[in-house]
């Protein structure tokens, strides 16, 4: 599912702001980052790179089948 897990979030919100496709949101109750719209993850790594505590794991596969030009 592209962005795979968030483990050890400190709730700073850097990943939410740095995600170009609005995949991550802060849970209003726990104030921790939640993978909310994984189908829109473009695997661009900006959340992982912006996370100050290396909490984010990226996976190579997408949750939606990929359309390519030839196969």
């Amino acid at each position: 599912m592209a962005i795979k897990s968030i483990d050890g979030c400190i709730g700073c919100g850097e990943c939410v702001k740095s995600c170009p496709t609005d995949v991550i949101r802060l849970d209003p109750k726990t104030k921790k980052a939640v993978i909310t719209y994984p189908e829109d993850c473009q695997i661009c790594h900006l959340c992982r790179m912006n996370c100050p505590v290396d909490a984010i794991t990226i996976d190579p596969t997408k949750s939606i089948p990929v359309v390519v030009s030839w196969g």
């Binding site: 995600c19 170009p20 912006n50 990226i58 996976d59 030009s69």
Partner: protein
């Protein structure tokens, strides 16, 4: 209240009917709407508020062009407001471009004239030499400013971009999607959009707008441009601006092993700090690999491009490469594409920055190549708003564009100077800003009639208000299935493009008006999907019109360069009847007004 509740049928009853033995035909017989999209609306429409902001210059987009547009318009005396769909320096293509071109006359191997001629030769005259030269002339000044702001010290650009913006107290509004440009009395009056975080419509009144909205694609899987859907071009088109360059393609390929090839961050390139490079003119990102794949199929052991095939795209003398070294071309500035996977854990976690200068295979070369990594995008700066002069000004007074939102044809219909994309965005942002700052001295802020504001709000919220309709995700995937195949988007011929156009017109006429959103995230997707549909129509119509092959536009039925009839760009505009119109603009002329 939902459509069903209005008809006196509770949700419980509805679900009982829908999941029971009563079929769709029977439901229609009851006079009830069938709800294809059963996801409940997650937001209360009555809670929407609206905010109005006034400024001299509104900059839309927070990438390299938007940064310089904001800073330079401010420095030229204008009151500036920057609004971005994402975060400053962390959205669009800017965060992933790691190379920036600098032309230094003291050390360059060629003169400015020679450089411009070299680009024109590679681009088979599709470049606008005024913009090619301008980029080179100003590149050094812009790069020096970037260096002062700390740009070259981190792989992440937000901090360096924030420095000059904060020093000038330029207001920045992030995570707001602008959907409308507003024109009153024949000139620009502002823009409107919505927040993706709260139920709020934003109306920006502005004397001038600079579109720094980047280009876009069809949310392709192998390229980090899924937030770019030609928003700027399409909203400008809707108010009468001309759009160019839609027939060109960007030929980046991905990897068959993992078509969502951004995973390895292009072998760690995303984690690297940016660097500068000098003159290096190529003929890159064309259709060579697409053509090989079309003719030969997809070899199992190695990707297309590994075997020489007869025919295919014409490459000017001096720009041909050996097939072994060709493969998928490199991303901007990555001419030395580092070898192998990034260091760090298997799962990609915490991969440290890498500065591998040894060279090696470009992205996608580790295994067989897959096509369409950047599907829907054209060569940097070849598509976008048609400039009427060297300042990024559009045919609508007060509306400017810079960077990939401007169809400056700076590089041409093929990628020529390595690293010029980032440099060009910086240069064009600054130039458009100075022109806009001059312009705003001559005009006053216009009031926007409340009827216009109401109509815009209705259009923005329409997908949220629909009780039934199609999900943006499904419509987008349908569009991808129509457009991305190699035999539609890249290796073109008339009958297939006409077939694809019939499908796209169906999406435009029947599905676009029924895009449905259940929350603000989907509202953004709905508007993005609408923009991609219009962009797909533009790409097909321009590609049908261009009855020749040149640079990154390749037609099987017209395989040769046609110097007699096609020394021209194609401009697209909305006719007075609302229909999409196309016109030729000679390579050596500015557009007819």
């Amino acid at each position: 209240m939902s459509e069903n509740e209005k008809k006196g049928l509770s949700r419980r009853q509805f679900l009982g009917l829908a999941t029971g033995v009563v079929g769709a035909a029977a439901l229609t017989g009851l006079g009830m709407k069938i709800r294809w999209n059963t996801k409940e609306r997650e937001i209360d429409l009555d809670t929407f508020t609206s905010e109005e902001t006034g400024t001299d210059v509104l900059v839309i987009g927070g990438g390299m062009a938007g940064l310089f547009a904001s800073v330079k318009a401010h420095d030229a005396g204008a009151k500036v407001h920057l609004v971005s769909k994402g975060r400053l320096g962390s959205s669009g293509q800017t965060p992933f471009a790691k190379g920036i071109f600098v032309y230094d006359e003291k050390t360059a191997s060629v003169t400015l004239d020679e450089f411009t001629d070299l680009v024109s030769k590679s681009a088979i005259n599709t470049n606008n030499p005024v913009y090619t030269r301008q980029m080179a002339i100003h590149s050094k000044e812009r790069v020096n400013e970037l260096r002062d702001w700390g740009f070259f010290e981190s792989p992440l650009y937000h901090k360096a971009f924030s420095k000059p913006i904060n020093e000038r107290n330029i207001p920045v509004s992030e995570r707001i999607m602008i959907t409308h440009l507003i024109k009153e009395n024949g000139r620009i009056a502002g823009a409107a959009g919505f927040s993706i975080d709260e139920a709020k419509i934003h109306i920006f009144k502005a004397k001038s707008v600079i579109l720094c909205t980047g280009a876009g694609g069809f949310k392709p899987n192998g390229f980090p441009i899924c937030d770019l859907t030609h928003d700027g071009s399409i909203m400008a088109y809707k108010i009468g601006a001309k759009i160019t360059g839609k027939e060109w393609n960007d030929g980046h390929s991905g990897s068959q092993d993992n078509p969502a090839a951004c995973y390895d961050g292009w072998h760690g390139m995303f984690d690297r700090t940016p660097s500068v490079n000098g003159v290096e003119v190529h003929h890159d990102l064309g259709m060579d690999a697409n053509y090989s794949a079309y003719i030969l199929g997809n070899p199992v052991s190695s990707g297309p491009g590994s075997q020489m095939v007869e025919g295919g795209p014409y490459v000017p003398d001096g720009f041909t490469r050996e097939m072994e070294e060709m493969g998928p071309p490199a991303i901007d500035g990555d001419q030395k594409g580092p070898k192998g996977p990034p260091p760090g854990d298997e799962d990609g976690r915490g991969a440290p920055p890498q500065n591998n200068d040894e060279g090696g295979a470009p992205p996608g070369m580790a295994s067989a190549a897959s096509g369409g990594a950047s599907a829907g995008m054209a060569i940097h700066k070849s598509e976008g708003i048609v400039p009427i002069n060297e300042k990024g000004e559009s045919n609508i007074p007060g509306l400017y564009a810079a960077g990939d939102a401007l169809g400056s044809h700076m590089a041409g219909g093929i990628y020529t100077q390595v690293g010029s994309s980032l440099a060009g965005s910086a240069v064009q942002g600054a130039i458009a800003a100075e022109a806009a700052a001059e312009y705003v001295k001559t005009v006053s802020l216009q009031s926007i009639p409340s009827s216009s504001v109401s109509a815009i709000k209705e259009e923005i919220l329409a997908p949220l208000k629909r009780e039934s309709g199609y999900t943006p995700a499904w419509v987008t995937q349908t569009l991808q299935g129509i457009m991305i195949p190699n035999f539609v988007l890249y290796i073109k011929k008339e009958n297939l493009m006409k077939a694809a156009l019939a499908y796209i017109e169906e999406l435009r006429d029947h599905h676009m008006p029924m895009l449905r959103a259940s929350n603000l995230h989907e509202l953004r997707l709905a508007h993005e999907t609408g923009n991609m549909i219009i962009s797909a129509e533009m790409k097909l119509r321009a590609s049908l019109m261009r009855t020749e092959s040149r640079c990154s536009h390749y037609r099987l039925d017209y395989p040769d360069v046609d110097y007699d009839n096609w020394q021209a760009w194609i401009n697209i505009y909305k006719g007075s009847d609302g229909q999409m119109k196309l016109e030729k603009q000679a390579f050596d002329a500015w557009p007819a007004q």
